[in-house]
């Protein structure tokens, strides 16, 4: 794995802006119950579009 996104689930407010910004399908998924976003790191290409869209700085590329 070269670069992938990591989400801080404590800060995430579930606004889904990252999901609308991600160019790759099925990377970010939204849990209806917890109202949080989670990531499938094996599908992530590490472009960082979600990081630049996140209003709460809950995401980072490592």
């Amino acid at each position: 794995m070269y670069a992938a996104v990591r989400i801080n689930e404590i800060i995430c407010i579930g606004c889904k802006k990252c999901i609308y910004a991600c160019p790759d399908p099925n990377v970010l998924s939204f849990d209806e119950e917890t109202r949080k976003v989670s990531a499938d790191e094996s599908r992530c290409k590490g472009c960082g579009l979600c990081v630049s869209e996140c209003p709460k700085d809950a995401m980072s590329i490592y």
């Binding site: 999901i19 910004a21 399908p25 998924s29 960082g48 579009l49 630049s52």
Partner: protein, 285 residues
């Protein structure tokens, strides 16, 4: 609708997990849209397009906006988008470079003869090279003939797949790998061209506003079903050829919208407007 797609019992243990989840949790038969993204299995699967690709983002949003994915046939053409279609779970055809609207016209006519009782949407999704340069004659003649198809252009302002040549949709002065002196001519106004050619619905949108993009795609497809041709242009910047960081794609879209070099706009014919009003009334009861 879900019984259209089923895994045969004998193959259940060897079918890929992605295929199964597409059947169990896919957008077929439901009323899924871009606002539901992240909660269902998308029609697009892992694709080989670059990190931060604006075109991939637009394509993902377009596929999520399709009102009737199980009865939609996409006609693609050569270009970056053609690399993603083998991974899309929608019927799709790869046509010769520039031929996409001619192929789609024939397909739509054949489908309306073969399935007169079923609504089949034929959607052309091609790049700016295929739509505005190489296939402009086929595209414009399909509009002149009022073919019932939706043409969607993924406008990345270059021939991105072949190393970065200028296209008709590149802005004046755009410097690319294979246009080092900058482009000498201005960007073609295809939405105005489409409107003048008699399209019932024309829109220019961006992936920075997914809801607007969804409404444009749905309106385009509905107008194509009932009235005539429709055209939608989606600005999808290319980080690889325009040399910006992959995480700046959406910023780039917003800055172009802000300085007025890419204007989001919509043209609706009277007939199409009546149709949308009628559908809105039915929806609201």
């Amino acid at each position: 609708m879900r019984n259209l797609f089923q895994v045969s019992a004998a193959f259940e243990d060897i079918m890929p997990a992605e295929y199964k989840s597409l059947i169990e949790n896919g957008p077929f038969g439901g009323d899924k849209g871009v606002t539901d993204l992240g909660t269902f299995k998308e029609l697009l699967e892992e694709h080989p397009l670059c990190a931060g690709c604006g075109l991939a983002l637009s394509l993902r949003l377009i596929l999520a906006s399709l009102p009737n994915p199980e009865h939609t046939i996409i006609v693609g053409s050569t270009g970056c988008s053609a690399l993603a279609f083998p991974q899309a779970a929608v019927h799709n055809i790869h046509s010769l470079f520039g031929n996409q609207n001619a192929v789609a016209s024939g397909l739509k006519r054949a489908l309306s003869l073969r399935f007169p009782d079923v609504v089949k949407d034929v959607v052309v999704i091609a790049g700016d090279g295929a739509t505005a340069d190489i296939g402009l004659d086929m595209v414009m003649h399909s509009w002149f003939r009022q073919e019932r198809i939706t043409t969607i252009m993924l406008d990345n302002e270059a021939y991105a797949n072949t190393g970065g040549q200028e296209s008709g949709m590149s802005q004046e002065g755009a410097v690319l790998n294979m246009a080092p002196k900058g482009k000498n001519f201005s960007k073609i106004s295809v939405p105005e061209l489409a409107w003048a050619s008699g399209c019932a619905y024309v829109a220019a949108v961006t992936p920075a506003n997914p809801r607007k993009l969804q409404s444009a795609v749905r309106r385009g497809i509905l107008a194509a079903r009932e009235t005539g041709s429709s055209y939608i242009q989606v600005y999808s910047p290319c980080p690889t050829n325009y040399k910006f960081k992959p995480n700046q794609t959406i910023e780039k879209v917003k800055s172009r919208e802000k300085d007025g070099t890419y204007q989001v706009r919509e043209y609706i014919s009277d007939e199409a407007q009546l149709l949308f009003d009628r559908l809105e009334e039915v929806k609201n009861g």
